[in-house]
């Protein structure tokens, strides 16, 4: 049963359901060491931690702004073609499918600093991230579904094809520094190694069929289409059919043998009063330069086609229809010729912005004073968070209200309500539990949709295991 579900989840991905990158549950959840990846100025509630390798953070998220799997694949007896047609027309060109996945390979961190109060925290690690976004290629879908015959006068927009996908391994080192009692800042440097990249986000042009003058129809092609890939060619090559070779290639790329890039995270946390917190972070301000293992495709050109004009050779100085036809055929061939190049290109990482306002309340009454001086001393917190991520067309935004509660010593809970492109009913729940030095957390988005995953337009799940020492322990 479980494996069947797994298959379905994978299938859902192949239907290009994707993810947002919003980690509203993890943001500010400073009992979990990985929260420092969302804001490098987050003060972790420990002296040092080591993530359990490969298990310290797993994040998986998909989202589809317009439809759910259920809309298309529901076993409801309706004709699939009808359903697909309604989906094609119902969705807008700005609707998108996204998927994100993140897996910590290793992570760790420790507090340090002069004096008794350690005012700095160094955190580091390496993770693997996959990020895909595909916009609904509406005009392409309509053209494939209906053709141009019923769309005379309609401008088919080449830019409707907008897709980017990548897998990168990221090595990072970050420093959190307490400036004073009211202010903490943090920054993180990142080295990206691209495992593969697909980028087709700068397409332009149009295709138009109109009523003509010289002939009944006139077709105007104006195409500027590019599809860049890096890291795909060597894996796809036939003469490299040995799976073990591919694995070796992938391993090398994970360890900085791929196309490289640099990035930075910044953040600050401000405590205007004992109970109020304001914090913000900017993540993945960075780029990757693709210069190895490239395969780029481009279709470029303009052409106006009215038909074939037979000039009848009996008529003097005539170009024959055959000449004319050959010219037309050549022009079409030229227009649709796919230029394959290996031009180097640069991609910008999906930069993310997080901000939060938090109000803490309900003082903790400790019977046996264990002098956890760093502890805020409040049991509850409520607040609002804003998330934005740079996407090829327009930023994707989400607004979250949350409630945080320390249930017991070593057991914390956070609930979120999020409004985003996917739904207005996204309730998320997360817990972090400390069992001795073992910290375990599970954060799940859109929990109301778990009754039927297929109906859900987005879901994310994060979990992880860390060994945490000091402070809150």
């Amino acid at each position: 049963m479980f494996s069947k579900r797994l298959v379905i989840v994978i299938l859902m991905l192949t239907v290009k359901h994707l993810f947002s990158q919003n980690k509203q549950l993890l943001f500010g959840f400073n009992d979990i060491p990985q929260s420092v990846l969302i804001n490098p100025s987050t003060t972790l509630d420990n002296d040092w931690f080591v993530g359990v390798p490969l298990l310290s953070h797993f994040h998986f998220n998909f989202g589809s702004s317009g439809i759910s799997t259920f809309d298309l694949f529901a076993d409801d007896g309706r004709d699939f073609n009808d359903k697909l047609q309604s989906v094609i027309f119902q969705l807008d060109r700005s609707d998108f499918f996204t998927a994100t996945q993140q897996l910590d390979i290793f992570s760790g961190g420790f507090a340090f600093g002069r004096g008794i109060e350690k005012d700095r925290y160094l955190s580091f690690g390496m993770y693997l991230e996959t990020d895909v976004i595909a916009y609904h290629p509406k005009d392409y879908a309509i053209l494939a579904y209906e053709g141009n015959a019923t769309n005379i006068g309609r401008v088919f927009d080449v830019s409707d094809f907008n897709l980017s996908g990548e897998m990168v391994s990221v090595f990072h080192v970050g420093l959190t520094k307490k400036v004073n009692d009211k202010f903490t800042i943090g920054a993180r440097g990142k080295i990206y190694s691209s495992v593969f990249n697909i980028n087709s986000t700068n397409n332009r042009g149009s295709f138009l069929t109109q009523e003509g003058q010289n002939n009944l129809l006139i077709h105007t092609f104006n195409l500027d289409f590019t599809y860049n890939t890096s890291g795909i060619r060597s894996l796809a090559e036939d003469d490299n059919s040995e799976v073990s070779d591919d694995i070796r290639t992938l391993r090398r790329r994970l360890l900085f043998g791929g196309n490289l890039g640099l990035g930075l995270d910044f953040g600050f946390t401000y405590f205007p009063t004992d109970q109020w917190t304001i914090e913000a972070s900017l993540l993945d301000v960075g780029f990757i330069r693709h210069s190895k293992d490239l395969d780029n495709y481009a279709v470029n050109g303009s052409y106006v086609y009215e038909g074939i004009n037979p000039l009848f050779p009996e008529v003097p100085n005539g170009q024959t229809a055959e000449d004319y036809w050959n010219e037309v055929a050549d022009n079409f061939e030229e227009l649709f010729e796919i230029d394959t190049t290996a031009t180097k290109y640069t991609t910008w990482r999906p930069t993310k912005f997080n901000a939060a306002v938090r109000y803490s309340f309900g003082e903790r009454i400790s019977k046996d004073c264990n002098c956890l001086a760093e502890d805020s001393g409040y049991l509850n917190a409520v607040g609002a968070q804003l998330f934005a991520v740079r996407r090829p067309r327009a930023p994707q935004l989400a607004l979250t209200a949350f409630y945080y509660r320390r249930l017991f010593e070593g057991l914390q809970f956070k609930a979120t309500y999020t409004i985003d492109s996917f739904s207005f009913t996204n309730v998320g729940l997360g817990i972090s539990a400390d069992l001795g030095p073992l910290n375990l957390y599970v954060l799940a988005d859109n929990v109301l949709e778990y009754q039927n995953l297929a109906r859900s337009q987005s879901n994310s799940i994060q979990f992880g295991l860390n060994l945490v020492f000091g402070s809150g322990q």
């Binding site: 697909l84 053709g147 002939n215 038909g307 074939i308 036809w325 017991f408 817990i431 039927n452 995953l453």
Partner: protein, 189 residues
């Protein structure tokens, strides 16, 4: 004891939520039924012939014709597999006081005549535009014939006048021909 029990329960609850979530009544096999049925509209041939061009050295030409060879589009594998119906629509606009016959012959690689279509463009008695429309549907055998076509011969035939007059270098008026095709595809994906 109580604490850890509650803790465990909570953990358990979240795990159950994650793992036991349901995916109900979804059938991905439906995608196999997907068939695309676009209709492609395309300009075909067009021409504009002046009346005076039907005269050469004072002799009226009976017909003019032209050949388009090396047509690859109908014999493309994609077309052979997926083209199920074709409509060719011709529109002749005549301002000459003569009837013209338009004929299109479809020929195979070995110049075998596969199919012929023809229609007459009606004369204009007063020099005004007389529009004649003609639609030709290719289905079944004719559709199969089209899929073997690599050459088209277009012939414009001038029928003799009722009163014996002929077109000369000073004759006015023209005949224009415009056309388009609707190509019905059926593409199982």
């Amino acid at each position: 004891m109580l604490k850890s029990k509650s803790k465990n329960r909570l953990c358990f609850f979240i795990f159950v939520l994650t793992i036991m979530s349901c995916v109900e009544d979804v059938d991905f096999d439906q995608a196999e039924d997907l068939t695309l049925t676009p209709v492609v509209a395309s300009s075909v041939v067009y021409t504009d012939v002046e009346a005076s061009r039907f005269s050469e050295n004072g002799i009226e030409l009976e017909q003019v014709s032209d050949t388009i060879a090396n047509i690859e589009i109908f014999t493309e594998e994609f077309v052979i597999d997926n083209l199920v119906r074709t409509e060719l629509i011709f529109e002749a606009t005549n301002t000459i006081n003569r009837t013209f016959g338009l004929q299109v012959d479809f020929l195979s690689n070995s110049d075998e005549l596969l199919h012929t279509l023809s229609f007459d463009a009606q004369p204009s008695n007063d020099g005004s535009e007389v529009v004649t429309e003609s639609t030709h549907v290719f289905e079944g055998d004719s559709q199969e014939a089209l899929k073997l076509t690599v050459k088209m011969v277009i012939t414009l035939r001038l029928y003799p006048s009722m009163d014996g007059s002929i077109l000369d270098e000073n004759s006015t008026g023209n005949i224009t021909l415009r056309s388009k095709g609707f190509f019905y595809l059926n593409i199982p994906v």
